[in-house]
């Protein structure tokens, strides 16, 4: 039978749709009997959704420094 440790290792491939039908079947059988792994997979999926936002948004100071650089570059192009 599949070990919980292996479920953790296969979670990425499962969520990326990279498991074979057989591998997916075996994993799903484990999930039926193991609530810890069900919880792991569910929360791991949340985590993957949260990662793209983890850096947050730029501050006003950062934005204006970028805008200034872009503006200066344009000025020197049209000189």
């Amino acid at each position: 039978m599949l070990k919980c440790r292996e479920v953790v290792h296969q979670a990425d491939a499962l969520l990326a749709g990279e498991l074979s039908r057989r591998e997916r079947f075996v994993l799903q059988m484990h999930l039926i009997i193991c609530r810890h792994c069900r919880r792991y997979i569910r929360q791991f999926e949340w985590l993957l959704r949260a990662i793209p936002r983890m850096h947050g948004s730029a501050s006003e100071a950062e934005i204006s420094s970028v805008l200034k650089a872009v503006e200066n570059a344009e000025k020197s192009t049209f000189k």
Partner: protein
């Protein structure tokens, strides 16, 4: 995607507010990507050049990828020269005992300490909790360079594996291991925070 399309229209018509918003939304993530590739000392300069290039290239952008992915490619281009100079092959640490969740399993492979139950009010914001900010940045900084680069390029910027393997000169299977290690470190961090309220 539709909102991204209208953002793109506004950007291409030269709307300055739309450009500011673009910077607001992506700058930090791109900076993280750049520092994962060229190191923090070179990241700022690399990113400034990338924004200048992006601003010039916006009218030609066809919207075939997401804006973040497109911007990331520009950052990669800007960092390419530096990347060649600074790239070091680091041997992959595949030892199972080094796995971020290694101590959470019993010998037989079942959970000894299963994941905590996470609060589910806003799963998308899991990593944006104020209390987590310092720990998150510590974990990211301490991460081996290749793991960090995989995480930023694949999960934050949405590049596909082929493109990343090419850029970072890693094999497809190593790329997956690196990404898995990076993600499970974050899992561990969030799990601990959700359980204890501390990090």
């Amino acid at each position: 995607m539709t909102s991204e399309l209208s953002t793109l229209r506004a950007l291409q018509s030269g709307d300055p507010t739309a450009f500011s918003e673009l910077v607001r939304e992506h700058h930090r993530a791109l900076l993280a990507t750049a520092s994962a590739i060229v190191g923090i000392d070179n990241a700022e300069e690399c990113l400034q050049n990338a924004w200048i290039k992006a601003h010039q290239a916006l009218p030609q952008f066809e919207g075939k990828s997401s804006l973040r992915t497109w911007l990331t490619r520009i950052v990669i281009n800007e960092s390419r020269m530096l990347l060649r100079k600074t790239r070091r092959e680091v041997p992959l640490e595949l030892d199972e005992s080094q796995h971020p969740l290694a101590d959470r399993f019993r010998e037989g492979g079942h959970w000894s300490k299963p994941p905590a139950t996470w609060h589910d009010e806003s799963p998308d914001g899991l990593l944006m909790e104020r209390e987590l900010a310092d720990c998150l940045s510590r974990v990211l900084t301490a991460m081996p360079a290749q793991q960090r680069a995989m995480l930023e390029l694949r999960d934050v910027s949405g590049l596909d594996f082929d493109e990343i393997c090419n850029e970072l000169a890693v094999t497809a299977s190593n790329a997956r291991v690196l990404l898995h290690r990076a993600r499970t470190q974050l899992f561990r961090l969030v799990d601990h925070y959700q359980e204890t309220g501390e990090c």
